[in-house]
Point group: C2
């Protein structure tokens, strides 16, 4: 695979976990510190820190140390790259499917096309 | 997580592998049998069959037995659901970011807003 395979591997791996998706979900509503991200979870702060590290390594989030806290935010460009990978494949398939459908319709209704002449 | 967490887990896990993404890539250009999908790979047919099973379990592709071959095709609805999960979060974040930017601009240029009065 040419297309930044490792980047996509890491992004999709990061997304394949409900807690990490929950963290992204929270960050979609604004910047948060790791301890703010940990609040809704029964898991330890260390466990949430590990999830944050996986998300950061995937590029989907960016973190920055501010004094004693680490601020986290979504990298919308990285999320968009993953979205685009998916939408390009889906659209290719849908275009192909539309073409086939038109072809089949043409074969099924040859009389209609004659009637229009 | 309320939103079909298992479905998303399976879809993102399926996508976190370059061979499986290669299979999706091939299927975006049209229906293919498992042996057609295996052609570009050095892996055994059995290994490709396993990848196809992971993709099918995730819902991202649909397979159908036709005589002695198994035809595979993309489920564009399933791909779209994954895309939407991502784009909803990204858009929420971008909207919030735009709001913050406007707020900061307003604070930085209070004279301009007075000048317009």
């Amino acid at each position: 695979m040419i297309e930044h395979s490792n980047e996509l591997d890491r992004a999709f791996h990061a997304l394949a976990d409900a807690t990490r998706r929950g963290i992204l979900d929270r960050l979609s509503r604004g910047i948060a510190s790791v301890s703010e991200l940990a609040k809704p979870y029964a898991s330890s702060l260390a466990a949430i820190q590990q999830h944050v590290q996986v998300l950061e390594a995937s590029g989907l989030i960016v973190t920055e140390k501010r004094g004693r806290t680490r601020e986290c935010r979504i990298s919308s460009a990285a999320v968009l790259r993953v979205e685009c990978w998916l939408s390009e494949r889906r659209q290719l398939w849908e275009d192909r499917f539309d073409q086939l459908e038109k072809l089949v319709e043409g074969e099924e209704n040859p009389v209609d096309s004659n009637a229009e002449r």
